[in-house]
């Protein structure tokens, strides 16, 4: 394997250096607005103040899915076009998506305790998110245990796409399973219809988290490119030593 062609990634690095500070600043700004709105949002008539947890839980769920969607597009880039930036994009997105999925699970659990009395319920949404988290762990395992980053990326890409196809099936199955075993009262994490005084903080927080995702993703992609460069240089260095011997 020759030293990978870093032409496009180099341009990409320059792009990231320029854009990242501004993106980070924008993220901070939107978070400030969102948090202010979230803290001052009125209490829900059913759930009381704990509805404020929803401002974290719902965006986190959305980001978990966005992460997988992003990884799926990157996977196509890896398998169909063999674009090295696609490998990097997928590998960088995985830990971030997994982290937000974890946030979704934890906040969901903390929301459930005051609302329904238990830390965990096997309702359709939480269970689907849990399965998504397991799939993330699988992909992470493939990315990070491969000695050859290219090979790991290709294997992870296959699993990502298989997961993308499977996720709707899993969601459908879990929904069905939930209605099968549910007594008359339906535990739904969605809660009552969303009032506009709650909707706006929710949307702003969702935007803030999305901006955060892309900020982290660009930075992580930059790091991954640098990591691959290090690996290529080290391989070259080893080669030079081998050739220098008489």
């Amino acid at each position: 394997m020759a030293v990978i062609d870093l032409a496009n990634p180099t341009r990409f690095l320059r792009f990231v250096e320029r854009v990242l500070p501004w993106l980070a600043l924008l993220t901070l700004l939107v978070f400030a607005i969102g948090l202010y709105r979230a803290v001052n949002a009125p209490d829900d008539y059913q759930q009381g103040a704990t509805v404020k947890i929803m401002f974290l839980h719902v965006p986190a769920a959305w980001l978990g899915m966005l992460g997988w969607a992003l990884m799926s597009i990157a996977a196509l880039g890896t398998l169909v076009w063999r674009h090295p930036l696609a490998d990097v994009a997928g590998k960088a997105a995985a830990p971030i998506g997994a982290a937000f999925t974890l946030i979704c699970l934890i906040t969901g659990s903390l929301w459930g305790r005051p609302t329904w009395g238990t830390y965990w319920v096997w309702d359709a949404r939480l269970t689907s998110v849990l399965v998504l988290f397991l799939l993330y762990l699988g992909v992470l395992a493939l990315y990070w245990t491969a000695e050859d980053p290219g090979r790991g990326a290709r294997a992870a890409a296959v699993l990502t796409l298989v997961g993308a196809i499977n996720l709707p099936i899993i969601k459908f199955s879990v929904d069905w399973w939930n209605t099968l075993h549910q007594p008359a009262s339906i535990l739904r994490m969605g809660g009552s219809a969303i009032d506009s005084s709650i909707l706006w903080p929710l949307l702003i927080m969702a935007l803030a988290f999305t901006l955060l995702f892309f900020t982290l993703h660009l930075a992580a992609m930059r790091n991954e490119i640098l990591r691959r460069r290090v690996r290529a240089l080290r391989l070259m260095q080893a080669q030079q030593f081998a050739e220098a011997r008489p």
Binding site: V3, A7, I53, I103, L110, W116, G117, R227, M236, Q237
Partner: protein, 58 residues
Amino acid sequence: MTMSFAQEAGFIVAAYAITAFVVAALIAWVVLDHSAQRRILDDLAERGVSRRSQRSEG
């Protein structure tokens, strides 16, 4: 199952705190990884190992 506001607040604070912690961990990972890679690259450059596009021709 009806909780006092103080108990409820505990869960809300915990949720925000844990979220902040995870986000901080992500940011830390990205920042520390960056400086680690940069350090290695600088070290390699010092030793004269460089990419072919940086080496002079011939």
